[in-house]
Symmetry: C2
Subunit: 161 residues, 2 copies
């Protein structure tokens, strides 16, 4: 069950594009933080580079424990016949729940802002053929590090720890 | 990654209780069917046997692709500090998305109505220490078999196939 995701390297997408897409997820994370929520954001991009849906963690705002950022972005995209060629961009390594989402719906690629403060299921996804791009983004790390230090109980609640 | 879930056998819960709890999920599945939706239902039970949340697939009703039955029941239960000792009861083997939910939040047990018309992640959950009870329930099988025969495209959309 181990694998080597292409940490820090960008493969089928160029480096500027990966960071541009990540900026959408970071904007969502910052919006969530400004609402008093958990600062994790995500966006689902279509094969042609359009945003199908974007969202952020809404546990606090909506009292909804299922509203992880990736799920919120997936929900915002509405019903789709296929996720072929789509990319889920997220500020943080996806937990098992959101990793399961990616696998079930055959989302082809995941761009991860950082996997340092939390290591979810992205290795498992890589082992199952999903392209994983980990950007080791300092802004994403700082967002989560500050949040976890400030609100450890809320963070543990969000990941079932 | 293979395992032998306790198919058809009931272990730490008695047979009557498992079927009583399943009846809650079946009632949800039938409610969803009556609304024109996909007939899959679920309920999250607490350690003391109270229903924390119940729900059903709402893809059609809400246009929400994330509203699988288990996610809907989990959402209905609202924020919880811990899922220790809880049981997710579902009419159908949980897909990867909902299996990831169970693993991430350390839900201890899953009661599955049937795993014949769809085989999701319940073996994977068993391999990771979740107690799995598969009831091989004829009513659950009939619900899904009839639905899949009547609406194959909708079913494929719901599981990303």
């Amino acid at each position: 069950m181990t694998s080597s995701p292409r940490r820090g390297r960008v493969t089928s997408m160029d480096h500027d594009q990966a960071h541009r897409w990540l900026a959408t997820a970071v904007a969502e994370a910052r919006a969530g933080l400004a609402e008093g929520g958990i600062p994790i954001g995500a966006a689902l991009y279509g094969p042609d580079g359009t945003v199908l849906g974007r969202g952020h963690n809404r546990r606090v705002q909506d009292g909804d424990p299922s509203a992880h950022a990736e799920t919120d972005a997936f929900r915002a995209a509405g019903r789709q016949r296929s996720y072929r060629g789509t990319t889920m961009v997220t500020t943080l390594s996806p937990c098992w729940y959101c990793s399961g989402l990616v696998r079930q719906f055959a989302i082809g690629r995941v761009v991860v802002g950082e996997a340092e403060t939390f290591h979810g299921g992205h290795d498992w996804l890589a082992a199952h053929g999903v392209e994983i791009v980990v950007l080791d983004d300092a802004e994403c790390v700082a967002l989560m590090r500050d949040f976890i230090a400030a609100r450890p109980a809320l963070w543990n609640e969000d990941i079932g720890a």
